[in-house]
């Protein structure tokens, strides 16, 4: 019974957990529930992945209503992989959350924090698992509303403004998404994605379908913070509580990228997307603008979280570059970077969260000399930073390698040079922090600092170790990403 209902449990457990958390007044109990749910999620996701690898795509009819009339949960290799990624990130971060939340959030709001976290998790997993276009919208709203709340819980008063800005931008994105889905519904009469794909055959060239594609692209691009639709992201990441930043940065944009891939390759089909509209050209241009523009802005930040947020915009540029290259190797690079970036940004934000826990500041000047006081945490930060740069032996190198190879297959030699050039900018912005941490005399703020508690240190080191491990052993990540890319380019079949 449990095995057959795993797809529903993946989404229902976080929802029930959120309900339970909302009853509690004490933050610790809510944390216990959130921890239990977060640790169960990867087990369910792994169970689903095994089922998919053994016996192919799983289809689960919600409420017993047969697809395409009812809502269908549809799990294939691509989203089973994403489910595992999101739930693993949640499971690694939850033990870390307790101390960080105790420090940063008022006691009467801690239970609400975990409620919102679980709702966010539920929404993200829901987007990944569902095969229904409108159901995606519902889950998108659940996860977005929860993340507005999470961001607004930040200590800094500017968190409220950042959350409001994100709310406006996110709502515009969701509206565009619904307009796109509405147009597709009017053309095909169905909301089931697989059914939609088969009914679109023959009418791809109609203007309504192309308009739907444009609306969906813009709407989802807002959610994934594609340059220049990224303006909500830096403030949201900078002023949110550390735990919220780490979780949202590692998962939310990745799920949006997955959604874009799903629409491009399985609903519309690569042929429509790349030949009827100049999608590849637009994505190429915007990705390059993100890689350079956002990296250059990152150079001038004096708040480390804000700097990392701009770096996220740049890194999302690498992921969308894979979509623009659109051959198997390039797309593999994009998808594997989706996974890799989740690991390294998660590790960076968790290390910075640990710094905030000890010294109460994330300004670069206050970090001076911190390497002497918190060598392990700062070592983790440096390693994950090297991965952002793309140093060989880290995950960042793997994704850039595939992107470079993909660019060469297209004969775009100049793009390889641009990839290296943008990496050089990240050398400067990461290097600036690393230099301050290790080689400057101790700042006043950092004087009393020591290593964070083990419950924070171990999760950070785990993610950091993963960035190194998957930098050497690419069979799992690049292997699955390669399979997913092949499957997507084949038009999903």
């Amino acid at each position: 019974m449990i095995a057959a209902n795993l797809p529903a449990l993946q989404v229902v457990l976080p929802l029930l957990g959120a309900v339970l958390c909302a009853f509690f007044r004490r933050g610790v109990w809510a944390w216990g529930v959130a921890l239990l749910v977060s640790l169960t999620m990867p087990l369910i996701a792994a169970g689903l992945l095994v089922q998919v690898l053994e016996s192919g795509t799983i289809s689960y009819a919600l409420g017993g209503w047969k697809p395409p009339y009812g809502i269908e949960y549809r799990i294939d290799v691509a989203n089973a992989f994403l489910l595992l990624l999101v739930s693993l990130i949640g499971a690694v971060m939850m033990p870390y959350a307790r101390r960080s939340v105790e420090k940063e959030i008022a006691p009467e709001r801690q239970a609400w924090f975990y409620t919102l976290y679980l709702l966010n998790l539920c929404g993200l997993l829901g987007i990944a698992i569902t095969g229904d276009a409108f159901n995606v919208f519902v889950f998108m709203e659940i996860s977005s509303l929860a993340s507005y709340g999470l961001i607004a819980l930040g200590r800094d008063r500017r968190a409220l403004l950042a959350a409001y800005q994100y709310l406006i931008m996110g709502t515009i994105g969701a509206t565009f998404y619904v307009i796109g889905v509405g147009l597709l519904y009017s053309m095909t009469g169905t909301l089931n994605m697989a059914d939609m794909a088969s009914r679109l055959a023959g009418i791809e060239n109609s203007r309504a379908v192309l308009t739907a594609l444009a609306f969906l692209t813009v709407g989802i691009s807002l959610k994934l913070a594609l340059f220049p639709l990224h303006v909500w992201l830096p403030n949201a990441y900078a002023y949110a509580p550390s735990m919220a930043t780490a979780f949202i940065a590692a998962t939310a944009t990745k799920v949006a990228v997955y959604l874009l891939l799903r629409y491009f390759f399985t609903v519309f089909g690569a042929a429509t997307v790349y030949t009827r509209l100049p999608v590849a050209e637009i994505f190429l241009l915007l990705s390059l603008a993100a890689m350079f523009g956002a990296s250059i802005v990152a150079l001038f930040q004096d708040n480390v979280k804000r700097m990392l947020a701009y770096s996220s915009v740049a890194q999302i540029g690498y992921i969308t570059l894979g979509i623009a290259i659109a051959n198997k190797t390039g797309l593999t690079g994009g998808i594997v970077h989706l996974f890799n970036h989740a690991l390294m940004k998660g590790a960076l934000f968790m290390a910075i969260g640990a710094v905030f826990y000890r010294i109460g500041s994330v300004r670069i000047d206050d970090l001076a000399g911190l390497g002497k006081r918190m060598p392990i945490t700062m070592g983790a930060f440096t390693l994950a930073g090297l991965s952002i740069i793309g140093a060989p032996g880290t995950v960042g190198f793997v994704s850039k390698w595939y992107l470079g190879l993909g660019a060469m297959e297209n004969g775009w030699w100049w793009l390889v040079f641009l990839l290296v050039a943008s990496s050089l900018i990240s050398v400067v912005y990461i290097g600036r922090v690393v230099e301050v941490i290790w080689f400057r005399p101790l700042s006043n703020a950092a004087k009393g600092a020591k290593e964070p508690p083990l419950s924070m240190l171990i999760p950070t080191l785990l993610l950091c170790a993963a960035t190194i491990y998957f930098g050497f052993d690419t069979t799992i990540t690049a292997g699955i990403a390669g399979r997913a890319a092949e499957w997507l380019l084949a038009g999903s079949g």
Partner: protein, 138 residues
């Protein structure tokens, strides 16, 4: 308005009718227009109306803020819980057919229970938002 007799007496006559109408909309939801959301808004409007006429403190004695806060997740819990019952009885999540011997009746019971969950959450949320706004600046 605390001393205005017409308002107070008028409100006392109207309040039970409002609740009755909310319940009518609630239980009529599976035959015609209406359902948990509309009924939830109406029953919350009743509390808000009461608070406007008799003052916030009196209203919060009748309907404590803590109750509103509990109702918000409780309704979601009812909704999700009814779905889980279907799962425990061997069907897919949100399948209400096994709730009764006859699947059609099962679906009807399921809808009624779920709509009740919606009523609880919606009215709790409306009242909680109202209390939040009224509590500002105190």
């Amino acid at each position: 308005m605390r001393l205005d007799v017409i308002f107070r007496v008028g409100a006392k006559i109207l309040l039970p009718i409002m609740l009755l109408f909310a319940l009518y909309v609630q239980f009529h939801g599976d035959f015609g227009p209406g359902g948990g959301f509309q009924a939830g808004v109406m029953s919350a409007a009743m509390v808000i109306f009461y608070a406007i006429i008799f003052g916030l403190e009196t209203a919060q004695k009748v309907f404590p803020p803590r109750l509103a806060e509990i109702m918000v997740p409780a309704g979601v819990g009812i909704f999700a819980g009814v779905g889980v019952i279907g799962m425990l009885l061997g069907e897919n999540y949100l399948n209400y057919s096994p709730l009764a011997d006859d699947p059609a009746h099962g679906q009807e019971y399921g809808i009624l229970l779920v709509e009740f969950g919606v009523l609880v959450t919606v009215s709790g949320t409306m009242v909680a938002i109202f209390y939040c706004f009224m509590g500002r600046g105190r």
